[in-house]
Amino acid sequence: MTFTARRNRNILITLLVGAVLLTTTSVYDVSLYQGPFLTGWLLLTSMLLLSLYGVRKKLTMLSTIGRSAAWVQFHVYLGYLCIGLFIIHIGFRVPDGWLEIMLALLFVLVAGSGVLGIVISRGLPRQLTRKGEEVIFERIPQFIRDLRMDAENLVVNSVTETNSTTIHDFYASNLRAYFERPRHTLDHITGSTHGLFTLLTEFDNMQRYLNDKEKEFSNQLRDLVVKKDELDFHHALQGLLKGWLFVHVPLIYSLLLVAVVHLVLVYAFSGGM
């Protein structure tokens, strides 16, 4: 099955289930039952099911619980349903009361980070594939250290072989900090090339002070700057692909905790409904 066919099928199923839920809650309301009780319980159950994916990820050795990819599909589309359920549950209005506001805010953050996760999971891998070599995230700091060593050796050699400090001075003022650690993270995430463009412009400005021999060193240094930029790019995008989970997952547990408190309070003050 192609990805498009799978997506169409899943969207159709989600819409159908959503329509059934909407009809059921409408009928519930018309029948003078408390609709929020039904949607609340459905929402809590769905959120618990969604959080089970975290457990699934740890149980890689168990074949009977299904492929991780199937769980992700279930997680994503149930997540979309939850957003719909949540809107129905709060009655299409902004909740009042500090606990409800906090709960709603947590839900929005969890759902928002989830949607963001889908967007970046589909978009960023393509960008990573199309720029530079494939590099493992944990090895990037080591590669940056190697590049820094190469750059510093180049600068020292330029001084000894050309008797000129132009490249050394340029390195000290413009590149030392650049080679120390990953830079221009926000630029890379937002798709801007401002950081690299600025550095390369400075390279061009320096050319007027260089002789032919120095220009060779300058060109080699420029290549290292471009390589470092590619590593920074991978560090930024791979970091984001890993990092969004550090927002999404803790928020889920906070949301579940506050949801349970909300549930207890609702039943405590339900007045026998």
């Binding site: 890689t60 393509r126 890993k242």
Partner: protein, 581 residues
């Protein structure tokens, strides 16, 4: 390393094939054919004929009905009948239920689950008691507890069989070609059969010319007829016709059997230079003087495009080439030449059936509507094969229309990834670099990952550094202990950690750098050292396709975005569908 554990470095024959091969037994074997005529002086003192018989063979006894080898099993041993007789079951053979074929043992649900806390916290930790002399199991033996064939008289009545007596050999094809057993063989009465593991056969072949010639003769005689019978074009023919075809068939070999050594040198060269080094089996435009059948290895089918060659497809064992052209020329007065060039990729064994034989015995027996259409200007030279019995996914079928991008196809062929039966392909446009695959692999292997999520790539596809479980596993060549072997039923290439002596032969042989040598530690985390040399003891490690885990390769199951697959590259149809999802 003051606290390091010291052991004696494992040696080739620390764990002989069988502990029961005493001097008396060995002497009796040496007095039997064919060993009695061998010149023992041709063997070096360090690996004498006596030593080989003692350490690389095992004398098995069987009773009537005991199965010696089963069809489909993978094995690396050949067999020699010492006394009694064994019976070879000819095609179509016995049903699997009669043969009692069992699955490999895998971890239970609880066994798999408990890995969460049972796994060692240390990298490459081992239980050193397993490495004491004689402690290792002979798990690479092809025969264990005898399996009894039910209903021998009925088998004799219903199935065609052939008797083999003392001095006769069998199983050499699977042992030498690293292929599955082609037939079932069982004891016809009380029989003694000497099982010789591949390392032993290799050493004797190297020293004794007559033995080598005898093995090669058997190999050619026995595999040929079966191969013809298995080819769809000939499947419907009678035994008499098959015999006539077998008589006329020409054997041709192209390329280098040790292709893996030259491959590493050539892989970085430009495509045109690499292509020029692939021997041409038949050139585009040549007269089709025979039907070419691939007996082993791989071939590239290409077509001239201006000054270069465009790869159209790759073919492997069981495939045929030139049939459409022969059919066209048989029907039409205006003959055509071969439409494509076919080149040997690495090493290729070709059986060439002369065109006259095809025209006389084969074409008249195939209904017209099942033959490929003739070539013509209207169809641009294309024709469709319509011979029955060809699996659409098989590399053996010819001209399977797939939509694999030409660049990718050439990348797969140039880098010999077509050799893989479980090649790890990663779609980098889907991969979020989460390393769930690596983590799943780690959990299934005592906290040690068995592959690198890294490798050569073309466009958005990467072939990761994970064992591909090759159709032609050259890593198995030269292993002195047989530690690297094919598993009994699945055919996965696996390493027996107990009998691996860390010689690095397999790692050096692997053309894809998918075998990693590791320094092992004891349960306290100290490196295990060789008693004599004081150096660390190494073991070869690689992906075993999670052989002992329920559900197969954990890496594929753990991928959350359907980015990773273990692909049998023979299944071009499946590959094409996956690439074009």
């Amino acid at each position: 390393m003051a606290g390091a554990t010291r052991i004696q470095r494992p040696q080739r024959w620390d764990n002989p094939f069988s502990p029961d091969m005493g001097n008396a037994v060995v002497d009796r074997i040496l007095d039997a054919q064919p060993f009695v005529n061998m010149d023992a002086a041709k063997f070096p003192e360090s690996a004498s004929l006596h030593d080989i018989i003692q350490n690389d063979t095992c004398l098995n006894t069987y009773q009537r009905g005991d199965i010696v080898v089963r069809v489909g099993d993978y094995g690396t041993s050949a067999f020699l009948v010492i006394s009694g007789q064994v019976r070879v079951v000819l095609p179509p053979g016995l049903p699997a239920s009669v043969l009692g074929q069992e699955e490999d043992e895998e971890k239970s649900f609880w066994g798999a689950f408990s890995q969460l806390w049972d796994n060692s916290k240390l990298p490459e930790s081992r239980d050193i008691s397993r490495y004491e002399k004689g402690a290792a199991s002979s798990s690479t033996k092809d025969t264990g507890t005898n399996i009894f064939l039910q209903g021998v008289p009925q088998v004799l009545d219903e199935d065609r069989t052939v008797l083999l007596g003392p001095g006769e050999m069998f199983g050499e094809i699977a042992a030498l070609a690293r292929s599955p057993r082609m037939t079932t063989i069982y004891a016809d009465g009380d029989a003694e059969v000497l099982e010789i593991r591949r390392q032993g056969i290799r050493d004797i072949r190297r020293r004794i010319d007559e033995f080598r010639e005898h093995i090669d003769k058997l190999y050619r005689e026995r595999s040929l007829k079966t191969h013809i019978q298995q080819t769809p074009v000939f499947r419907h023919l009678s035994d008499d016709i098959i015999d006539k075809i077998a008589e006329k068939i020409l054997f041709e070999t192209f390329g280098d059997f040790d292709w893996h050594t030259s491959y590493k040198r050539f892989v970085t060269q430009p495509s045109a230079e690499r292509l020029a080094k692939e021997p041409i089996i038949a050139r585009e435009g040549d007269y089709p003087d025979g039907l070419m059948m691939l007996r082993s290895g791989f071939a590239r089918v290409s077509s001239e495009v201006n000054h270069g060659h465009q790869t159209l497809r790759y073919i492997g064992r069981g495939a045929i080439h030139g049939f459409e052209e022969i059919v066209h020329n048989w029907r039409n007065d205006e003959p055509v030449g071969l439409q494509n060039t076919i080149r040997s990729v690495g090493y290729t064994d070709i059986l060439r059936v002369p065109t006259s034989i095809i025209e006389e015995f084969v074409l008249p027996t195939i209904p017209e509507d099942r033959l490929p259409k003739s070539f013509g200007p209207s169809d641009g030279g294309a024709s469709q094969p319509i011979v029955s019995g060809v699996h659409p996914d098989s590399v053996g079928s010819y001209r399977i229309e797939t939509s694999i991008n030409t660049g990718l196809l050439e990348f797969l062929v140039d880098n010999r990834y077509i050799n893989g039966t479980a090649t790890m392909l990663i779609d980098l446009d889907r991969c979020v670099r989460c390393d769930s695959c690596v983590e799943a692999c780690t959990v299934g292997h005592n906290n040690n990952p068995r592959f690198n999520r890294h490798g050569r790539r073309l466009g958005n596809f990467m072939v990761a550094n994970a064992c591909m479980h090759c159709a032609d596993p050259v890593c198995m060549l030269g292993c002195p202990t047989g530690a690297i072997h094919r598993s009994a039923l699945g055919g996965q290439v696996v390493i027996n950690d107990d009998s691996c002596i860390g010689c690095t032969t397999c790692a050096n042989n692997c053309p894809y750098d998918n075998i990693r040598m590791v320094e092992i530690r004891d349960d306290k985390g100290d490196f295990i050292l060789d008693e004599a040399a004081g150096t660390t003891v190494m073991k070869a490690t690689k992906c075993d396709l999670c052989l002992d885990q329920p559900g197969g390769p954990a890496c594929q199951r753990a991928c959350p975005h359907d980015a990773l697959i273990r692909m049998n590259m023979r299944h071009r149809g499946t590959l094409s569908r996956w690439l074009n999802r």
